[in-house]
């Protein structure tokens, strides 16, 4: 059970890297063209059962990485979903074999726009191909195959992670017994796209962006990337959560009113923007936000044909105060899947923390996942 003394850590972990596609045998991309080599950084937690029937694939969100749980030596913080994954935790590593891989297009070990382009010997920059959600899933599937697994017990993800799970379940329902789509969307609204468009504008108009060639120029679009993060961060939190946390508190370091940091919420945002620079790449931000913009699987006329033949058990979760991908986004997914005769469970989780709730140990959320995974495992055992 979450929060009980039994719940523990997966301990010290390390990221592995595998080449899943080569220059000679590249990944064929949804938009045309190919990508190769494709290296993928991933981590696993727990033990694969002899029948290989206890594997759960974790799809990460926009700025996540392969390090979902446990501790890297010297790192003061555990993986980004450590409250969820571990012995005795909702995604219980005493029972499940958990896989998490850095997305291609990302910047934490998998091939992305800052990787070396074999055609030029320099970083791809904006020559990196435009990716779609299907491309991300194609690489996940190659990793699963590499690990000797033919069918996952489940795939799970929040936000962009949930969008990968949705695409995967629709395209290859035979791959997944269960698909957990959390705080996600089946298509971004104009407002969602607008926020990302402004973030990209901030990055691309930073003079240090250098038309995507900043790495070769020895600079980084820090200003634009931090502005993008600050703005996005506002959309990840509910208005109430910001009010509770900061209200109108004046920053203790303020000398006099002016245009520095006067309110604690400004100090907080500034910090969020700065620490982001240490872990994220501007080009990855462009590529992966565009993946989200383009995502619109239900617009494809035949997208539901495969699940009509091979249903998947779906769990769709939203959070009450999420105004990025709120409950209306989840309801659309639920309605469409139900119309295709899918077994869908849906719950709107009460939580004050907005979109970021999917990353937090919100009690009714974790309780729902515990119950769901218990059932999922019992159905395998039958």
């Amino acid at each position: 059970m979450p929060g009980t003394p039994e719940a523990g850590s997966v301990g010290v972990v390390s990221t592995q890297t595998v080449r899943l596609f080569t220059a000679e045998s590249p990944l064929t991309l949804e938009q045309g063209g190919t990508l190769g080599p494709v290296d993928v950084a991933y981590e696993t937690y727990g033990t694969l059962a002899p029948a290989a029937d206890n594997a759960v694939f974790v799809c990460h969100a926009l700025t996540g990485d392969a390090h979902a749980a446990g501790w890297h030596p010297g790192d003061p913080r555990p993986g980004w979903w450590d409250n969820l994954i571990g012995p005795g935790k909702p995604l219980d590593t005493d029972r499940f074999f958990v896989i998490c891989a850095n997305l291609i297009g990302g910047c934490q070990g998998s091939t992305g726009p800052s990787s070396t382009n074999p055609a030029t010997g320099r970083a791809y920059g904006l020559d990196f191909p435009v990716l779609m959600t299907r491309d991300l899933v194609a690489v996940h599937r190659a990793l699963v195959k590499h690990l000797g697994i033919t069918r996952l017990l489940a795939a799970i993800g929040g936000s962009l992670g949930g969008m990968q799970v949705l695409q995967w379940g629709l395209d290859q329902p035979e791959d997944l017994a269960n698909a957990l789509v959390i705080a996600a969307s089946s298509r971004l609204t104009a407002q969602n796209i607008a926020f990302s468009a402004v973030a990209r504008r901030a990055i691309m108009s930073d003079p240090h962006f250098e038309a995507g060639g900043y790495a070769a120029a020895g600079v980084n679009p820090d200003v634009g990337l931090s502005i993008a993060r600050m703005m996005a961060h506002i959309t990840y939190l509910s208005e109430d959560a910001l009010t509770e946390k900061f209200g109108r508190q004046v920053d203790p370091n303020r000398v006099q009113p002016g245009f520095g940091i006067d309110f604690t919420v400004e100090s907080y945002l500034d910090h969020q923007g700065q620490v982001f620079l240490e872990r994220f790449d501007a080009l990855s931000y462009l590529y992966l936000t565009r993946v989200m913009d383009y995502f619109d699987p239900f617009a494809e006329p035949k997208i539901l044909e495969r699940v009509l033949v091979t249903p998947v058990n779906w769990l769709v979760l939203s959070f009450a105060t999420d105004w990025r991908f709120g409950t209306n986004h989840s309801r659309r997914i639920v309605r469409t899947l139900e119309q295709a005769g899918q077994p869908v469970s849906f719950r709107e989780i009460p939580s004050n923390y907005g979109h970021d709730s999917f990353l937090l140990a919100v009690e009714p959320y974790h309780a729902t996942l515990v119950a769901y995974f218990d059932r999922a495992l019992s159905e395998v055992s039958r």
Copy 2:
């Protein structure tokens, strides 16, 4: 009545400028220090009654100006509140004498941070003093006096305009028979401040900001200012309005998916950011957003003492889909005024257009104003 054939235009108008404070007799500022000279650009529409009892002062919002109604020669668009102000319109210039002045700190004719600092002979830049809402009102009062008016029939404003009206009514209730506070707030939330903080960051980190000295350097922080505007513009519209207007429409000029303008909502935002550069100054954006951040009149223990003696008739309006200063902001104003025994009318106007509704000819909104102004004038006549 709004929209009837009788409703007309105030015609061709021109902006006048008056020096209300001089270097020798400057404006004393709320935060300490003084400002002088203070020039104010203003327009008037209609005719002041012999008893000078039909004057309505219009307070503009963050990026407004003195040109609220009518036409400037050669300008393809009328004033920003032309749908409201004119013969036969809700603010009927056949009956009312309407005054609108550009805010100090602004950039359309009134003294602001890009005006010449008499101490240096160059633009103030960041040496311009930090302003508070009371300073804006002090200048409005000086203009009213200059025009020979001792008491206004009403002051009206939306957003930052409504905040000026609130401050004015609380501080000098004897100045106003009626105070119309529309889509405003008595204190910004952490989320409100956060959005403005990111906008200011975009402006101030533009290399062409030059620590506020961009004018002298012959440059302009166009990139930062347009990013600020694009982001703010998202918050002015409801999510539904953006969806209705743009949805997920692909821009007709898109060649292929990438990082240009792929969706029409991106094209729209880009346009908004670009046209804003032609009419607004980056330093004014900093100063006037900070005025809003600092606004918190009800935090002053004795703020309600004056209206207890001299009540004002208050009309408070919010718009159902406004998520910048939504109905909860208006309700707080209403509650606090009612506790001080003020006669307050409140209405939440159904409108799909978010915060921007206060600028639009939304039928129930204009109808409410027509009825309110009819009553206000009839009470004068009694």
